[in-house]
């Protein structure tokens, strides 16, 4: 007995198939002659028993199967009844209960595909027979499949330290599960920490955020990796391996007490990102007072030592000797079960719309810059000042800058109307200047939003419906001298109006992070046309992504306000906690499998797989062959079609099974 004999020849063991035809009350029975189909089934090859019963999915119906399996030692079962999408799990459990592998089971849909859609009894019966014949032909080739499960690593990775990341991290950590929070900037806080007040309640943004930040900083179950970025992600749901680059701060976190002496003494300055360029910060800096962690960072691009090799003043003054210029980036390997991306958004750069004069006229500022002006911790200590220090007598607020515009972003950024109103209120409150809001639609849809709009209009804010065409300093009349003239058509008046103001605040759009493409590739998720991350289903599954175990929350999934962001963060946390409590992940059983003898290592499967499951590499054999990471494979079968030699096939959807059905269905 030489050579390798085909499996089919070896295990030509007895196939004993049980066929059960369901009446489904009258749903099937009144159009299909179920007895005739059962008798016919009895005559088919390797069928040991063929019965018909009124309700196969009922308990007695299932017992029928279980007993037959035990007594007649059936090794395959076919049930002809309703759609497998309906009762396949039910009957599979029944088989399992009778210790028959659930995959040695097939269904023939003689209800939705036959009795319900045809009326001629003779033809319907004929078709039912064909469908049963096909199911029997298929089950003959079914193999028992082992349903694998892998343990779910309870640790979680949250990427992004804004309000979304903080909320998600806290909720998971509060249920005593380890969270790694990776934040790119020196401190967590994201965009929200830059805001002065939040709408509609006008709470001080920092007052409601800093306690949560502190909680994160002190939480025993949260390991905060600030000033760090995710380099590389591998593995799959339940067992991700993440490589994090902890950028060199040049300050030893343990020794630093956060006294701030080094920041005082450092003579070199640079634009403060926190104040959006409105003020300066030192080369060694913490972005803002309540920074978590409260450890400064040395900015290489503005530190004299790194640029010209001299100074090191901070080192001299630091009592605890925490300054360490030799520090290098470190790499940390993390193992987590699930990942929540909360990477937030970028603010739109309005200078691309040259007509609005941002970057040309001093007093044209963005909403975020206004937040810094009005914030007590801001460069002007909360006073609304023009560039030359004067108090503005009139302020114009322009909506939809970069939003709802085909040339920039077609979507509506959802939050600008509300923060436009907030700016108006603050200006009125602090300077009592004339305020004009140029809008197209006032979108105040949230809870308490419309009331806030009513309140702000009562404070004497003028609302002009029209998209601003131009902001110019060229005066046409005396009132316009020395002022910024906002030109737009008041569509309700139907005439062009020129509004001279001292300051212009641009409600800029929220857009996807500039590195979103790269991040999406790292976490094997995809992006929508507008650049934000693609959710699994926009309505029913907004926080999940097509890649199992990777969840998204907050503005990285699309522009949204803080309440919605927090809700999504909690949703994502809940999904993770559900997976943690289950403790294990059941893997898709019918996944692809490579016969390495047949594989010629051509890489076509690797190239086209959306889920990066097959990978060609050199394993035991000298020539490269493909191997499938079963946890990543979804069983879609695309690789099997592309494989020239038929080396890769999908368990439970092997060519022999499908070809057997094709032949059986063809027989008239």
């Amino acid at each position: 007995m030489g050579g390798n004999i085909t499996a089919e020849a070896l295990d030509r063991d007895e196939r004993r198939i049980g066929v059960y035809i369901c009446h489904c009350g009258l749903n099937i029975a009144d159009t299909v002659d179920v007895e005739a189909v059962a008798n016919y089934a009895g005559t088919l090859n390797s069928v040991a028993v063929a019965r018909d019963y009124r309700f196969m999915c009922s308990d007695p119906g299932q017992d029928l199967i279980k007993n037959d399996i035990k007594e007649l030692n059936l090794n395959r079962v076919v049930v002809a009844s309703c759609s497998p999408r309906m009762h396949e799990p039910t009957f599979r459990k029944a088989c399992e209960a009778a210790s028959l592998n659930p995959y040695l089971f097939e269904m023939a849909n003689i209800r939705e595909d036959c009795s319900w859609v045809h009326d001629d009894r003779e033809v319907a019966t004929q078709k039912a027979k064909a469908l049963v014949r096909a199911a029997v032909a298929r089950v003959y080739y079914n193999d028992p499949l082992e349903i694998k499960e892998i343990p779910f690593n309870p640790d979680t990775l949250v990427v992004g330290g804004g309000i979304a990341g903080i909320q998600a991290a806290l909720e998971i950590a509060d249920s005593e599960h380890k969270v790694y929070l990776v934040e790119r900037d020196p401190s967590i806080g994201g965009h929200m920490i830059q805001l002065d007040k939040t709408f509609p309640t006008l709470d001080c943004s920092q007052c409601i955020l800093t306690p949560k930040m502190a909680a994160v900083g002190a939480h025993p179950y949260i390991e905060l990796l600030s000033y760090s970025e995710v380099e590389e992600v591998s593995g799959f749901v339940g067992a991700f391996k993440v490589k994090v680059r902890k950028k060199a701060r040049y300050v030893d976190e343990d020794k630093c007490t956060g006294c701030g002496l080094c920041q005082e003494k450092c003579p070199w300055t640079a634009d403060s990102e926190y104040d959006v360029g409105l003020s300066k910060r030192k080369a060694i800096y913490t972005p803002f007072a309540q920074a978590i962690p409260n450890v400064p960072v040395i900015d290489r691009d503005s530190c004299a030592y790194f640029l010209k090799g001299k100074c090191r003043a901070c080192e001299k003054f630091c009592e605890t000797g925490a300054i360490d210029f030799e520090q290098v980036d470190q790499f940390i390997e993390l193992e987590v079960g699930a990942i929540i991306l909360a990477t937030g958004y970028d603010a739109f750069d309005p200078s691309t719309i040259s007509q609005y004069g941002y970057g040309i006229y001093d007093n044209v500022i963005t909403g975020l810059q206004f937040e810094r002006l009005s914030a007590a911790t801001g460069p002007t200590g909360g006073e609304i000042r023009l560039k030359d220090g004067r108090k503005p007598e009139s302020v114009a607020i322009i909506h939809c800058v970069g939003s709802r515009d085909q040339n920039y972003h077609e979507y509506c950024s959802r939050v600008c109307c509300m923060y436009g109103l907030k700016v108006a209120h603050i200006v009125k409150d602090k300077t009592n200047a004339d305020v004009y809001e140029m809008y197209i639609d006032m979108r105040c849809f949230g809870e308490g939003y419309e009331e806030f709009y009513k309140r702000v209009s009562e404070e004497g804010v003028n609302f002009i419906r029209g998209k601003v065409a131009k902001v110019t300093d060229k005066a046409v009349s005396e009132e316009e001298e020395g002022k910024l003239v906002v030109i737009c058509e008041d569509t309700l008046l139907g005439s062009i109006i020129r509004v001279p103001v001292d300051m212009v605040v641009l409600c800029i759009a929220l857009e996807a992070r500039s590195d979103a493409e790269e991040v999406a590739r790292k976490f094997i998720i995809s992006r929508r046309a507008d650049g934000f991350f693609l959710e699994r289903h926009v309505k029913l599954d907004p926080v999940a992504t097509p890649s199992d175990g990777v969840l998204i929350a907050g503005c990285c999934q699309g522009p949204k306000d803080i309440p919605d962001t927090v809700v999504q963060a909690s949703a994502a946390a809940a999904r993770v906690l559900a997976m943690i409590s289950k403790g294990r992940v059941t893997l898709e059983a019918s996944v692809s499998h490579v016969n390495e003898d047949l594989c010629i290592g051509c890489g076509r499967c690797e190239e086209l797989c959306e889920f990066h499951a097959p990978k060609v590499g050199i394993y035991e054999k000298p020539m490269p062959v493909s191997r499938v990471n079963e946890a990543l494979c979804k069983g879609c079968g695309a690789c099997a079609v592309a494989c020239p030699t038929g080396a890769i096939s999908i368990k439970h959807f092997k060519p022999e099974q499908i070809l057997a059905m094709v032949d059986a269905l063809a027989e008239t």
Partner: protein
Amino acid sequence: MSEFEPSILCFACNWCSYAAADIAGTSRIHYPPNVRLLRVMCSGMVDAEYVMKALEAGFDGVMVAGCHIGDCHYISGNIKAQEMVTRLKKLLHILGLEDERLMLKWIATSEGPIFAETIKEYVEQLKKLGPSPFRKELVT
């Protein structure tokens, strides 16, 4: 011999087209019995081998039904099905088979009625076209 009744094999993708067929069933929308459904996980799973085998077995028409572009549960399965069908149609054209013998159709889950309608139209089309040259009786 009674009027020619074409036989059709339809590969239906589990997430959209097969679900649409189920809905056509639950809403009792009748359509001609000439079609026989074969459930696959994704239209991208349908290999040229299965279509050729169906033609060899004597089916007069083969239909591959998948999700609309962008709806695919596996992101791009339907696109791959489209590529396969386009390439296979060129082969069948050289072989002399009419283009209608193989049909690709996107049917979303909710489009039960459209599923039934498509089957009706396809049967009419094939009736006009006549039997496949490989139909069982003709071959032997």
